[in-house]
């Protein structure tokens, strides 16, 4: 960096005084702008947190207070019973079990299939590879709506509608977004490591499982988290494929609850909070991975 040297001043003290004043002015301005920034940040935070607070507050209100006027932010007394009542009014334990089955199967399926495929694209040379990878990216851009009807027909023809399979199977055949994410990560691992392992006599599969995978834990964790949240919150697919109540996921269960007990906002909010808990816990445990994943792909993972 080059800094131009100021011309020699005639009086040393005057310049110093000037400088002091300028500094003080800058400090004042700095303080003012800092205050405004903090004010805006705090105001924004309050606005962003209010819906959550309202959710918690409603979930703890006695029934008669949910529709009292004017509304209160703090319940007169905390009714923890709402959580038990809401959870048992419908078989939410069954819904939880189904959600866990679907979500875990999706996370595992995506981790296995996408990492294998991504390794192929990142490390193995073959004719047609670039073109096929372009196809992966192209399918990322095609809206789900286009494939939704034929996929439904496919599953209905093989008799899998109203089972959990349509919610699980696709994850085991690679999901373009995760393939892309993992491939980008694998490419950043130095090839020297592969070559060294290769010289030591490792097969391609061993390079994948012993060299690449252990070095890719952050990226794999990111995929696991995105897959977990995406499936935990998924309503559209269960809505299309699931009919009988014993196969409902939590999202469908909440939808049913809402349809049946529209006025029991306190119970509804209590169950909603319970269904959000796993997502919240994962978020707080792995926030760093979220941010990394977003930075790696430039996408929010939706």
């Amino acid at each position: 960096m080059k800094i131009s040297v100021p011309s020699q001043p005639s009086s040393q003290t005057a310049v110093q005084l000037d400088r002091e004043r300028a500094k003080a002015r800058a400090r004042r301005r700095h303080f003012l702008s800092k205050s405004i920034i903090y004010l805006l940040l705090v105001a924004g935070s309050v606005l962003f947190m209010l819906p959550f607070l309202w959710m918690v507050s409603t979930s703890l209100k006695p029934s008669n207070e949910v529709f009292s006027w004017p509304p209160s932010f703090v319940p007169t007394h905390f009714v923890w019973q709402n959580y038990v009542e809401g959870w048992t009014i419908l078989p939410f334990n069954t819904f939880l079990k189904n959600s866990l089955i679907v979500t875990i199967a999706n996370v595992v399926g995506n981790l296995i299939s996408c990492s294998i495929v991504a390794f192929g694209f990142a490390r193995l040379r073959a004719r047609g590879r670039e073109f096929l990878f372009l196809l992966v990216l192209a399918t990322l851009m095609i809206p789900r709506e286009v494939t939704i009807v034929p996929t439904f027909i496919l599953f209905s023809k093989v008799g899998l509608v109203n089972t959990l399979w349509p919610l699980i199977l696709p994850a085991w055949f690679g999901y373009p977004f995760f393939i892309f994410l993992l491939r980008q990560f694998f490419m950043s691992i130095p090839r020297d490591l592969d070559e060294a392992a290769r010289i030591d006599g490792a097969s391609t599969w061993q390079i994948f499982t012993r060299v690449i995978l252990p070095l890719s834990k952050p990226a794999l964790a990111t995929v696991a988290i995105f897959a977990f949240i995406g499936n935990w919150n998924n309503l559209l697919d269960p809505l299309i494929y699931i009919r009988s109540q014993e196969l409902y996921t939590l999202a469908l269960g909440l939808n049913l609850f809402r349809g049946q007990n529209f006025t029991q906002f306190n119970d509804l909010m209590a169950v909603s909070i319970l269904t959000l808990l796993p997502v919240l816990i994962i978020f707080f445990l792995a926030q760093r991975l979220f941010v990394q994943g977003v930075a790696l792909t430039g996408m929010g993972g939706r």
């Binding site: 940040l41 962003f48 299939s113 073959a126 809206p143 009807v149 509804l268 909603s272 978020f283």
Partner: protein, 318 residues
């Protein structure tokens, strides 16, 4: 095998090297296709197959109960006279433009605020980011509760600040779309994180150079931050708009298109045709028009982008 080995030994060193390399390359190629096999199967079953099928189905009338009937392009021509199609398209564009413009503005402002070295940066980031992670039906239910005209939090707050007759939000045909757009801004933290990463990668020397050239904070913002961030903003506009055109779950849960079809968006109308009316042909045709709209809007944004997006390292000959 043995015979081949003898032959190999007989040929000259250079040729043999090329020969084994070829063998290795062939093996690598075989391995490549084995590794990507899951995706190939998935691509056929859940990607290319359905895409082609969807295109064919869009020229039929098919309720799944009886065999499909070939109807030519009549599904497409029917859209022209289908009032719900027009309503859904207009509502979707309204929602898309509103939520994306507001979302980009809010998330960019938040990222700018957070980019200053503030104390508690990670706490603030968590607060703004969290709502974008919790999505789905639980959040939709929460916002139904907030937008409740009589007992909801929002109107309560509006009354406190002196607005005696606040809007009905989800039950008002005029206010239902603004309500959904407001709700979507709650998820602005996702793109905020992307902006934040972008802001932090702007080299400091650009700001120093601008300062030496006499640029104030405002000048530095417009002449350094905005041009350097323009590719990220552009990317967010594109991705955000595409996903908002596909909005479904929240609106399905919160309004189901009501009141009076004021929030009937495209995804919802498509879902109804496919899974309520079982009009598989018409639903497929709708999905292709949605695809075309997405491509058209994205192409338009790229065309606009040429005018305002600045790519570093891109030499412009003028």
């Amino acid at each position: 095998m043995l015979q081949q080995g003898v032959q190999d030994a007989a040929v000259s060193r250079g040729v043999r090297k090329r020969h084994t390399l070829g063998k290795q390359a062939r093996r690598e190629e075989r391995e490549f296709y084995l590794f990507i096999l899951p995706w190939i199967i998935g691509f056929i079953l859940f990607g290319a197959g359905p895409i082609i099928a969807s295109f064919v189905i869009s020229f039929t009338q098919w309720t799944l109960l009886t065999p499909p009937i070939w109807v030519g392009a009549s599904n497409y021509t029917h859209m022209l006279s289908d009032p719900f199609f027009r309503i859904a398209l207009v509502n979707t564009l309204y929602y898309g433009i509103g939520s994306v413009l507001l979302g980009v503005t809010v998330s960019f402002l938040l990222a700018l605020l957070l980019n200053k070295d503030v104390v508690g940066q990670s706490l603030f980031r968590t607060i703004f980011y969290l709502p974008s992670v919790v999505t789905g039906i639980a959040v939709a239910l929460l916002w139904i509760n907030i937008f409740n005209p009589d007992f909801g939090m929002l109107n309560h707050m509006l009354r406190v600040i002196g607005i005696s007759n606040p809007p009905g939000w989800l039950v008002s045909p005029t206010w239902v779309m603004p309500a959904l757009i407001i709700m979507s801004v709650w998820g602005a933290g996702g793109s905020m994180v992307i902006y934040l990463a972008g802001l932090q990668s702007i080299p400091e020397h650009l700001y120093e150079a601008a300062s030496l050239d006499g640029a104030g904070p405002w000048g530095r913002f417009w002449n350094v931050t905005v041009p350097m961030m323009s590719p990220v903003i552009f990317f967010n506009l594109i991705v955000g708009f595409i996903s908002s055109l596909q909005a479904f779950v929240q609106i399905y849960v919160m309004t189901d298109g009501g009141p009076a079809n004021a929030s009937l968006v495209y995804g919802l109308y498509l879902y109804r045709n496919a899974f309520r009316f079982f009009q598989m042909g018409y639903a497929s045709a709708l999905s292709w028009i949605l695809f075309i709209v997405i491509i058209g809007v994205t192409a338009f944004q790229f065309w606009l982008g040429q005018r305002w997006v600045y790519y570093e390292g891109d030499i412009k000959g003028s």
